[in-house]
């Protein structure tokens, strides 16, 4: 790495300690669509804090309004009531202090991997040797150096997600917002992506907000876990996840605390899913079934260990 003068610490803004930036405070926000009789409330009276330099994971039943919350945080939409503040300033629209990584790849198919990563710097007129070096460094970090001149359709799903992480990180946003970024990947690439992503976070320690429906993913990554209710979504519980970093697959899933958090979160989610199950949601029905199977196997598991 001697040829690359930029070191990991440069990617993270210099002062990301307790005095750093990137704290989001969500106070009593609600969001409804439509008017009069047709009003549908998606988010109801939500309050939580995305603490600076921490990885906050939000988990909730699918279709509960998490993506709506993300659009509010990103500033693509405005809440019906309540306020969202970043470092004390209210969010009024999209800004480069927050960056969203979307569910499916939103890489520009007409640009090579390198050009995709350089999009942000170039858009701001910063096509400098430093930003190019940073792009090269990130390419190496996410394991795509050999693919710098490939177009997105030539990359696998996992590679596209990694390229997208790099494209977001080069902008050095105060807060990274990720909306189920690994959804749709196969189990193997998903676990690989968790390690990549946890590694990137552990090096930069910028504020991250990660939304998912996958409990294993949530616990593997989170410092703080926000469990959401079914639609209209509210905060159900906030759980601190105290698993030491760096996190690797081997040491997370053996961890007692991790399993304890998992059971706690699962039973909360199960309750929420049951509610929407009685409301007739298909996704919830699937979840309830999966949960009961999981509980059955978990109950059998301890018997094997002496």
């Amino acid at each position: 790495m001697s040829s690359i003068p930029i070191q990991p610490s440069d990617i993270a803004a210099s002062a990301r300690d307790s005095t750093g930036v990137g704290e989001i405070e969500v106070s009593n926000i609600s969001k409804s669509y439509g008017t009069g009789l047709f009003t549908k409330t998606v988010v109801q009276d939500c309050s939580f804090k995305i603490e600076r330099n921490k990885l906050t994971v939000m988990i909730g039943p699918s279709g509960c309004g998490k993506s709506t919350l993300i659009r509010l945080l990103a500033g693509f939409e405005k809440p019906t009531s309540g306020s969202i503040k970043i470092d004390g300033k209210p969010i009024t629209g999209p800004g480069k202090d927050r960056l969203v990584v979307f569910q499916e790849s939103a890489l520009f198919p007409w640009m090579t991997t390198f050009d995709n990563i350089m999009y942000g710097p170039r858009a701001r007129g910063e096509d400098t040797p430093q930003s190019r070096q940073q792009a090269e460094f990130l390419l190496e970090k996410v394991g795509l150096k050999a693919f710098r001149k490939k177009y997105p359709p030539q990359l696998s799903g996992g590679m596209q997600r990694r390229a997208e992480l790099a494209r977001a990180m080069i902008n050095n946003p105060d807060v990274m917002i990720l909306d189920e970024p690994f959804r749709g990947l196969d189990a193997m690439s998903k676990e690989l992506m968790w390690e990549y992503y946890a590694g990137l976070f552990e090096e930069s320690h910028r504020t991250n907000f990660f939304v998912t429906t996958d409990i294993d993913e949530a616990i593997f990554l989170a410092d703080r876990l926000i469990v959401m209710t079914n639609i209209p979504t509210r905060v159900r519980a906030i759980i601190d996840v105290n698993i030491p970093r760096p996190r690797r697959l081997a040491n997370v899933f053996d961890n007692d605390h991790a399993n304890q958090v998992k059971m706690q979160a699962l039973s909360l989610l199960h309750e929420e899913a049951m509610k929407s199950f009685s409301g007739g949601s298909r996704a919830a029905a699937d979840f309830v079934e999966a949960y009961s199977r999981r509980s059955a196997t978990d109950a059998g598991a301890p018997a094997k260990t002496p």
Partner: protein
């Protein structure tokens, strides 16, 4: 590396696809020859095809025409008209389509009249354009232009309007200005539709130019000619072989134009061919 390209060319010529094409063409010409000469060879003239000049006769006439300046002049005139109409359609159609896609106001103002004018066949414009434009040449080029114009516009509008919203959100979130989004997101995302629109438009231009030349008499006031006029003139003069020569010439010219466009389109959208 000329050697490498030579190898590649040989490979391409000997590929299954080109072999099939060669076989298909040979069989087609052979059947045509038999059909045309059915009276001589079989004693009975086959319906329809028995009246068509035989390919051997067509080739003989063609051979004679190859050294004829008038024949090449027809090629040249039609090509110039096609290129003029096509280029004008691209130059006016692409920005117009983009503007219609980007601005809701402009779309609302222009789309109704556009949609009423669009279904009018270009040839229906011939009389009015002869009245409107000062020269025959201009009216032919105008009708040719119309042939490609509507197709180009409708493709550009469709392409630009169907861009995935997440591209805009991503660009916006990374601090891109409106102009930057237009230049580096809207334009490249619309490019495939522009390529498709232009190749379809090119096909229509050849259809239209020939008919326009026939109707307008190929520009009687001095300029004259064109492949459409060439065919009509051969018909009037009773040289049936020459009619077929004219037809095949148009086929070749249209094919060549489409190939050039396809190559240019491929070069400008490299990400589409790499999967």
């Amino acid at each position: 590396m000329p050697n490498k390209t030579l190898v590649r060319l040989r490979k391409k010529l000997l590929s299954h696809a080109s072999l099939r094409a060669i076989i298909a063409l040979t069989v087609f010409v052979l059947l045509w020859e038999i059909g045309s000469r059915s009276k001589q060879w079989l004693g009975v003239s086959l319906p329809w095809i028995g009246q068509v000049p035989a390919p051997s006769g067509v080739l003989r006439v063609w051979g004679g025409l190859l050294s004829d300046a008038g024949y090449w002049q027809s090629w040249w005139l039609s090509l110039v008209r096609v290129l003029a109409g096509f280029t004008a359609a691209m130059v006016i159609g692409i920005p117009l389509g983009l503007l219609m896609a980007v601005s809701k106001t402009f779309y609302g103002l222009s789309f109704p009249s556009f949609e009423i004018l669009r279904p009018i066949p270009p040839l229906a414009w011939v009389p009015i354009s002869i009245i409107f434009w000062p020269t025959q040449e201009l009216s032919i080029a105008f009708v040719t232009f119309l042939g490609a114009f509507f197709t180009v516009v409708i493709n550009v509008v469709g392409g630009a309007k169907s861009i995935d919203g997440r591209f805009f959100q991503a660009a916006q979130a990374m601090g891109a200005s409106q102009w930057d989004i237009f230049r580096r997101v809207v334009l490249p995302a619309t490019l495939p539709s522009i390529v498709v629109g232009s190749s379809v438009g090119m096909g229509i231009t050849w259809n239209v130019v020939v008919a326009a030349e026939m109707i307008s008499g190929g520009g009687g006031s001095g300029s004259g000619g064109g492949l459409g006029f060439f065919i009509w003139n051969s018909y009037v003069g009773g040289s049936y072989e020459q009619i077929v020569v004219g037809m095949i010439s148009i086929g070749i010219a249209g094919f060549a134009c489409s190939e050039v466009l396809r190559a240019l389109g491929g070069l400008s959208t490299p990400w589409l061919s790499k999967r």
